[in-house]
Amino acid sequence: MSRAVTPARKTINTVLAWTVALILFFPILWTVLTSFKPEPVAVASPPVFLNFDWTLKNYYDVERQRDYFDYFLNSVIISLGSTVLGLVLAVPAAWSMAFVPGRRTKDLLMWMLSTKMMPAVGVLVPIYLIFRTLGLLDSRIGLTVVLMLINLPIIVWMLYTYFREIPGEILEAARMDGATLSSEIIYVLTPMALPGIASTFLLNVILAWNEAFWTINLTVTDAAPLTKFIAGFSSPQGLFYAKLSAASTMAIAPILVLGWFSQRQLVRGLTFGAVK
């Protein structure tokens, strides 16, 4: 039975939806607004909303103090690298779990996911020591590997869910048609799971881009990504809200743009299989 939607109810729903959206978006909006304020206005009480002298000075200062593009480039390399590496490992793993499950496959999946429940700081010391021994501290390769490892459970889980939607008979048909395991994955499975793979890719780029714990703890300068760039403005010389906001805006802008353009793909991927 469908519920009648009266104009009044529609208005209330719309207002509610906008309110919730605004509450969620407000911190980002406030950060962006603060980035255009002179430093004294940024800390003014009561806070000034729109009525101030808009300035780009914070952006100039931030860019002059630290080279934004070095950090940006590191973020791009680390997030794309860890996601691609993760997919290369996760596609065969998810294939085997989805199409030739063993008795313990479910347990294995749960165990993989459980590693995400552990506080990261719990393994910081061993990983730090291993990285120091291997000379991977403050290196892009080290960070790519560590971000790939922490996001791998999510990549495998997502791909496993998508692969489960693909009828096994199609892969059997490919096998009958003479496809080797690798051709089966490359020519049949991957193209069929492309929407799922794409949304997994996007989500993991976002997760890796935003990851702060490992990127801040395992880098100094050479491999430091944008998270380190932001953190750099909050410690040594005291807190500069406007500059910090400018740095944050510069750090989140690329991922916001990516998210905006791929939102359709993301939503489709995240609800894949939920509705026919």
Partner: protein
């Protein structure tokens, strides 16, 4: 060539013995139908032959070569699945060409073979479409096309017509039979529909709980079923089975008589009964006759013009030489 020999082939899933060791000989060019009720192991047996399942015992010999441990692609067989199993992201052309592409054939050769298969299956004008844009029948033809281009030594069909509507099923049934006539390649066809089995097969293999109950031509099975299971499974409507004193009169534990071998008369005959449900098919009428005193209701086939009503008393007479006799263990006497 397409001679397939199963020797002691068995399959277990964990503790469950799905296929007890069985032997079967399939000659080159034969159209063999595996038929049986749901869960009887017919699809599993086909998948064992295809190599999609591993045997847990016995040997599968294809054209004199032991293929038991050989991968599906290396067995030289092609399979058509119930769900068509087409590659949804490829055009019809790419679907049909896929096995050729996997075999590394030159592009020109692939195109030539695809065009030829499309011509045979009336798919030429659909070659650039995606499977999603085709009807069920067309999709099944694409699946067959993909099998044909491989020029396999045998075709394996796993309930290929189950997803089609009744009218289309009859048409496709004839197309597949026609194809067999044209290619004369061995075909193994799995179905639970005994009409498909009777109309298409050179040889029917009746399976029950993984065991082969009987192997023979459709008419052999119809005329001389080896046991009660085959007697009941082959023929539509089912054979009437009568046990007790009436069977003993014929020197058997159970007797069977097909609906088409019983004549109906309003006033005289061997068995008396009351007409229950009547099914009018136009050409034939099936009467379900109850209260026969035989311990079972009987189904009788009469001509389309015979008119009897619910509750009418009728007399039934079986054709004596068409009575099948079975012993206590259900075997034919």
């Amino acid at each position: 060539m397409g001679q397939i020999t199963l020797s002691g082939v068995a399959k277990r899933f964990g503790e469950a013995q799905v296929i007890p060791p069985l032997d079967l000989e399939i000659q080159d060019g034969e159209f063999v139908v595996f038929v049986g009720p749901s869960g009887c192991g017919k699809s599993t047996l086909l998948r064992l032959i295809a190599g999609l399942e591993d045997t847990t015992g016995g040997r599968i010999i294809i054209d004199g070569r032991d293929a038991t441990g050989v991968s599906p692609a290396q067995r030289g067989l092609a399979m058509v699945f119930q769900s068509y199993a087409l590659y949804p992201h490829m055009s019809v052309r790419s679907n049909i060409a896929f096995p050729l592409r996997m075999a590394g054939l030159p592009k020109a050769e692939q195109d030539r073979k695809v065009e030829a298969a499309a011509k045979v299956l009336n798919l030429t004008s659909y070659l650039d479409r995606r499977p999603g844009q085709l009807s069920g029948g067309q999709r099944q033809r694409v699946a067959i096309g993909r099998a044909i281009v491989r020029e396999p030594s045998a075709f394996l069909f796993d309930e290929p017509l189950s997803n089609l509507d009744a009218a289309l099923r009859v048409g496709m049934r004839m197309e597949i039979s026609e194809l067999h006539e044209k290619l004369r390649t061995t075909m193994i066809y799995v179905t639970h529909d005994q009409v498909e089995a009777m109309t298409m097969a050179d040889k029917i293999v009746v399976l029950n709980a993984g065991r082969i109950e009987q192997v023979g031509s459709p008419l052999d099975l119809y005329r001389s079923p080896r046991n009660i299971f085959v007697a009941g499974f082959i023929g539509s409507p089912k054979m009437n089975l009568i046990s007790g004193p009436e069977a003993q009169r014929f020197g058997a534990h159970t007797i069977g008589i097909r609906p088409e071998h019983i004549s109906v008369h309003p006033t005289m005959g061997e068995w008396r009964g009351i007409v229950g449900v009547s099914e009018h098919l136009g050409s034939d009428t099936f009467f379900h006759v109850q209260e026969t005193g035989l311990g079972a209701a009987l189904t009788v086939r009469a001509g389309g013009e015979v008119s009897l009503h619910h509750g009418d008393t009728v007399f039934l007479t079986p054709e004596p030489d068409k009575i099948h006799r079975f012993d206590q263990s259900g075997l034919r006497l």
